[in-house]
Structure formats: structure tokens, C-alpha cells
């Protein structure tokens, strides 16, 4: 469970006049659940890359519970992300040829962190998502089932942060509903700070705080509005 403080963040690309993302200040409390919405091109993906440490930012502050990502070198960010962030993506990014359980445990294994406790937790999480065959090869699964595996993978190392990028965009309505339940339920049970980037109204409406991005700027923040 980690809190996020963004300060003076500006991401620009050469050839573009205005920055793709510009956040003077943003606070997310530890354990809070936030939806980030906006039209395509509004800077949502950049927001995910910035707060997850995937994209290097030269100036400002990206502080997660006392760790400033701006000041970490790439390999340190990789390690930090492995330990603290559970990622769920629109395209799942599962590895075909491996079973559901092996996919869940792959990041932990690559970081040499697959202890027996992690393995047990992987099995429990898979069972918790309603998947009954942990040994099933992922390429034989439906899209909804694949996203369940991805959620179990995101949570297996008990991260303080769960970041989901359009987790329901490629799913049908029913699967999307199940995924939303699992994501909010499991992240909540783990006490992780949850950031969901989405334009799925059904999913957004279930999250207490909603931030809207427009042309790289925060145009609306339900929490700020409430205050």
C-alpha cells in the first residue's frame, strides 16, 4: 500500500508543440482506487508509463511512498516495478507455450523471487479468479480467462500498487464485468493502491475517484471537485 505524489511532470516528444502529459501536482492516497479516463490521445498511456516507471522522466517528482522514480536509474526502476507494481494490460501479454500457473509465476521467477510462498499464492489467486486448471496452456484459453490469469500474475508478489491499462477494452460485456469484480476485489483485499486507466463506463463508475485527462492535462478530478 503506497501513496503517490506527482509534481511538475511534463512529458514532451520531439516534433510535438505541446507536451503529451503535463501534471503540475497530483496526490493519490495509499490504498485509494482511482479511474483515469479520457479520449484516445489524451495522454492516458503516457500516464501509465510514467507512474509505473516504464518511461523515463527527467524532471519533477514521481514519489511512491518515499521512492522518487525520477531519480532512479533504469535498472533500479525495473527492480522497483517488479517488487511494487502489478500490471494488467489490455492485450494481457501472456506467454504462449507456458501454462496459466507458469505465466503467473514468470515475473517472480525472472526476478529469482519465486519462493514456495509465492507459488502457493499463485495457485490460490488462480483458484480465486475461478480458473480450475492451473496447468492449462494459456493459448487454449478464452480472452476473459486470459485476463484472469493476468490479474493473478499482477497480484502474486503482493504489490503495493496495481495499475491496469484498459483491462476490459478487448473483452465482451460479461467478461468485462467479471474482470472488474476481480480487479477491484483482489486489489482491495490486498490493500493495494489501484489505478485503472479506462474508457469503459461500467468499470469507471465502480471506482470512487475519477480523473479525466484532456490533451495531456487533468481537466477534471472528482476528489478535487468534492473538496
Amino acid at each position: 500500500m503506497l501513496s503517490l505524489t506527482l509534481k511538475d511532470i511534463a512529458v514532451s516528444y520531439a516534433g510535438l508543440a505541446s507536451p503529451v502529459l503535463s501534471v503540475p501536482a497530483l496526490q493519490v492516497a495509499a490504498g485509494e482506487s482511482v479511474a483515469v479516463t479520457g479520449a484516445s490521445g489524451s495522454g492516458k498511456s503516457t500516464f501509465v508509463n510514467v507512474v509505473s516507471g516504464l518511461e523515463h522522466v527527467g524532471e519533477g517528482v514521481i514519489d511512491w511512498g518515499g521512492t522518487d522514480l525520477v531519480r532512479l536509474a533504469e535498472h533500479r526502476r525495473d527492480r522497483w516495478r517488479a517488487e511494487h507494481v502489478g500490471l494488467v494490460m489490455q492485450d494481457f501479454h501472456l506467454f504462449p507455450g507456458l501454462s496459466a500457473l507458469d505465466n503467473v509465476l514468470l515475473p517472480a521467477r525472472l526476478a529469482s523471487a519465486a519462493s514456495s510462498a509465492v507459488k502457493r499464492r499463485g495457485r490460490d489467486l488462480l483458484a480465486g479468479t475461478g480458473l480450475e486448471r492451473p496447468g492449462q496452456p494459456v493459448e487454449t484459453m478464452s480472452r476473459g480467462e486470459m485476463q484472469r490469469v493476468a490479474i493473478a500474475r499482477a497480484l502474486v508478489r503482493e504489490p503495493g500498487i496495481v495499475i491496469a491499462d484498459e483491462p476490459t477494452a478487448s473483452l465482451d460485456e460479461e467478461s468485462g464485468h467479471i474482470i472488474a469484480d476481480l480487479l477491484i476485489g483482489l486489489a482491495g483485499a490486498a490493500g493495494a493502491t489501484l489505478i485503472v486507466v479506462s474508457h469503459d463506463p461500467a468499470l469507471i463508475s465502480r471506482l470512487p475517484r475519477r480523473i479525466t485527462l484532456e490533451r495531456g492535462q487533468i481537466s477534471r478530478d472528482s476528489k478535487a471537485a468534492a473538496i
Binding site: R79, A82, E83, L87, M89, H93, L106, R109
Partner: protein
């Protein structure tokens, strides 16, 4: 990590096998060139081992060795009987055995010689006994004839359109032990019989036959006419006892194997018989010169093999760079889920290096197999054993190729290492 790599290999079986075979064939080519050259060198050196000093009429040293040691059929000028008689009587000579070739039977070379050479090549016979009469024949271990088989000698070889001598039929009386030399395919008969069949027996040295060429391709032509006329066909008495008193009875011979008593004698004899009408050679020395030529050919073949390897390495580099390109998203995802750059580097490198290494191993096996098969064919055709074996140098080659593969795999691994996870995921 290994599980992840194996899963990827399983998913891309076809491509993996293609890369594996590409590497294996390139390596096998170089390995078989090396093994083959070594086998030929060892095999021929072994074949020449029994032949200390060979003396013949002045002419080509190489041909003298090829004809006497390797029994390669070729026209060779004859050395006059007087020179042979001098050699046989020389106190520095342990024995001097005449080697008269030119006839054949069923594809096996027929060699006229003395009991001394039979004893020298095979101190103990595999079966039977050495020759006692002019009609006796002792066969090499690889000759497919049984004891008592009748041999009707053919002048020259069947392919050259030789004709069968009607003057004498030999009978197999003994078989030598295996020597691993072309002599395993030879049929040894008393030299007297050969002389007599060719109308040279019991004639005094200095006869004009000196210039005549035994088994000559062209020369044999007009001589043949005489044979075919029937009236000039000579005959020999199969039951006549052999007579190895060379001082009394000797005729011209194409080559004489000389066993000197000491090394010093060997050098003196070689010096003495290298002038005028005779030529004395150490087969080992001639072979060394041949090896130098062989070495040049090997360098050329190795250059071709290495060139092939470079081409394949370039192709592999292309394939592996495409491999990384195809896996951009996968690699990006690995990074996104927390795999460090080093882990990604190791995965890509290990993946490609494993396949290359397997290919190199396979290539060595394949190269050995091919050399062994070729060696077997050569043995069957020429009778001399080709010892196909790996040596220390091959280990160096294996290490060098493996190191090259290891370095090559760094390129795509580096590409993967430098990929930004965010950029890779976007694609």
C-alpha cells in the same frame, strides 16, 4: 528462465530446426574436411611404414612411390636387372625384394615379388603358407578368394582392355594378415612367374627389354599385338620350384623394396642409387612433399568451409535480428513485468547460443559420420585404412566456433537489452 526459453523453442520448432541444421551443416563441412585430410595423411603414412627404401629406374619419384607403396597402376620404366642384382648382393642390404606389377585379376593388382616381402608384410600368415612353386599365390587379407582358388592373370586391367595370360594359372596357397595398406588388396605371386609370362625369365641382364614398359597404357598397345598373335605368348611351369638366387636369375623390375641394415646404410644406399639410370626414394620423404600439396588443397577447402560458415553466420545474424524484432512486444512485456535488462539480455543470448551450440555438436557428429562413410568407401576401393579420429586440434576448432557463436548471439541480445519497455509495448 530455461523453462521460458524451452517454451519459446517448442513454439517455434520449425525455425529452430532450420537454424540448427544450418549451423550443423556449416560445421560438418569444416569438420569432415579436417578429419578426411588427417585420415588420408595417417592412413598413407601407415601404408608407407613398411617401405624403407624403394629403388626403381630413373623417373618420377612420386609415381615410384604411388606404384610400389599404393599399388596404383601406372606405366613405370623398368630398372635393369644388373642394378637389382647389385642391390641384392650389397652387404648393407638386409633384403631386396622385387616388386613387379602390371597384371591384375578380378580387379586386384597382381604383384610379382619374393618370399622375403611376404614375410616382411605379414610375418605370420592368416592361413596357408608362402609360395614354393611358380604357380603359388599369396593373397592380401581383403582379397575375396578362398584357398586353392585359381587365378588367371590379366595383363593390365579389365578396364584398360587387357587380355588374359594363357601361359600360367596361379593357385591361392596362403593369405596374409591385415596390414591396413593397399597391399591388403594385392595378390602376391613369385616374380619368376611374372618374368617368364612376359618373356623375361631366365634371360641375362642387359637384354633390350630394359626400355620396355610394364603395364604401359600406350606402350602396351603394340606389345599387346604380339601377345594376341599367340605365338609370342609365353608360358611358365606352375610346378617349377621358385628360385630366389637373384645373382643367377634376374630380369628387369619396375621397383625394388630395399631393407637396409642400418639408418646410415639407408642414406648411403639412397645416395648411391640416385644417379644415372636408377632412382632411390624414402617413401616417407615423398609423402611429406605430397602432404604439402595436400595441405594447400586443405587450406583451399577450409577457406571454402570457413566462407560457408561466415555466410551462414551472416544469415543467422539476420534471422536473429528478425527474431528480436518479432519479439519486441514480448521483450517489452518481460521488462514491464519487472524482468531486468540483464535478464532480458541473458534470455535472448542463452536462447540463441543454446541453439547454435546444439547445431555445433550436431555438426561434429555429422562431420564424423560423413568422414567415416567416405573412409569406409576409400578402404574398400584402395585397401588402405583411413583412421578417422578427432584430435586435440578439433577441440580448439570446436571452442573457436562456440566462442564465435557466443559473440554472434550478443548482437541480438544487445538489441533486446537496449529496447525501452514502453516503446516496445506500444508497437
Amino acid at each position: 528462465m530455461i523453462g521460458f526459453i524451452l517454451a519459446d523453442i517448442r513454439r517455434h520448432k520449425g525455425g529452430t530446426i532450420a537454424i540448427l541444421l544450418l549451423v550443423a551443416f556449416a560445421v560438418a563441412l569444416a569438420v569432415s574436411v579436417t578429419l578426411q585430410e588427417r585420415a588420408l595423411r595417417l592412413g598413407s603414412a601407415r601404408a608407407a611404414n613398411a617401405f624403407d627404401l624403394v629403388v626403381g629406374a630413373a623417373g618420377s619419384e612420386t609415381q615410384l612411390v604411388l606404384s610400389s607403396v599404393f599399388l596404383q597402376a601406372a606405366p613405370l620404366p623398368l630398372m635393369e636387372a644388373a642394378a637389382f642384382q647389385r642391390l641384392a648382393a650389397d652387404p648393407r642390404v638386409a633384403f631386396a625384394a622385387p616388386i613387379g606389377f602390371g597384371d591384375s585379376f578380378a580387379g586386384y593388382p597382381l604383384v610379382g615379388t619374393s618370399t622375403a616381402l611376404v614375410t616382411h608384410l605379414s610375418p605370420q600368415l592368416e592361413e596357408g603358407a608362402g609360395f614354393r612353386q611358380e604357380g603359388d599365390a599369396v593373397i592380401g587379407s581383403a582379397v575375396d578368394l578362398s584357398m586353392g582358388a585359381v587365378i588367371k592373370p590379366m595383363h593390365g586391367t579389365a578396364e584398360e582392355g587387357g587380355h588374359t595370360h594363357t601361359g600360367l594359372a596361379y593357385a591361392v596357397v596362403g593369405r596374409m594378415k591385415q596390414t591396413g595398406t593397399p597391399w591388403d588388396r594385392a595378390i602376391l605371386v613369385p616374380i619368376q612367374a611374372v618374368w617368364e609370362l612376359h618373356g623375361m625369365g631366365h634371360e641375362e641382364a642387359g637384354h633390350e627389354e630394359t626400355g620396355h614398359e610394364e603395364a604401359g597404357h600406350e606402350e602396351a598397345g603394340h606389345e599387346e599385338a604380339g601377345h594376341e598373335g599367340g605365338e609370342h605368348e609365353h608360358s611358365a611351369d606352375a610346378a617349377a620350384p621358385i628360385d630366389e638366387d637373384w645373382a643367377e636369375h634376374a630380369a628387369a623390375v619396375p621397383a625394388v623394396l630395399v631393407k637396409p641394415k642400418t639408418i646410415a646404410d639407408a642414406y648411403k644406399l639412397r645416395q648411391e642409387y640416385r644417379s644415372g639410370t636408377t632412382l632411390a626414394v624414402f617413401p616417407g620423404e615423398v609423402l611429406t612433399r605430397l602432404y604439402a600439396t595436400l595441405g594447400d588443397a586443405k587450406i583451399l577447402l577450409m577457406a571454402v568451409a570457413v566462407g560457408t560458415q561466415v555466410l551462414i553466420a551472416a544469415a543467422l545474424l539476420l534471422v536473429t535480428i528478425m527474431h528480436v524484432g518479432q519479439r519486441r512486444r514480448q521483450i517489452g512485456a518481460l521488462r514491464a513485468f519487472g524482468a531486468s535488462r540483464t535478464v532480458v539480455f541473458r534470455i535472448v543470448w542463452l536462447h540463441l547460443f543454446t541453439i547454435s551450440l546444439a547445431g555445433i555438436f550436431l555438426g561434429f557428429g555429422l562431420g564424423y559420420l560423413v568422414s567415416d562413410i567416405i573412409g569406409g568407401i576409400v578402404s574398400r576401393q584402395n585397401g588402405f585404412t583411413m583412421p578417422v579420429a578427432f584430435a586435440r586440434g578439433d577441440l580448439v576448432f570446436a571452442a573457436a566456433v562456440s566462442a564465435f557463436a557466443a559473440v554472434l548471439a550478443i548482437v541480438p541480445a544487445m538489441l533486446a537489452y537496449r529496447q525501452s519497455p514502453a516503446a516496445a509495448l506500444k508497437g
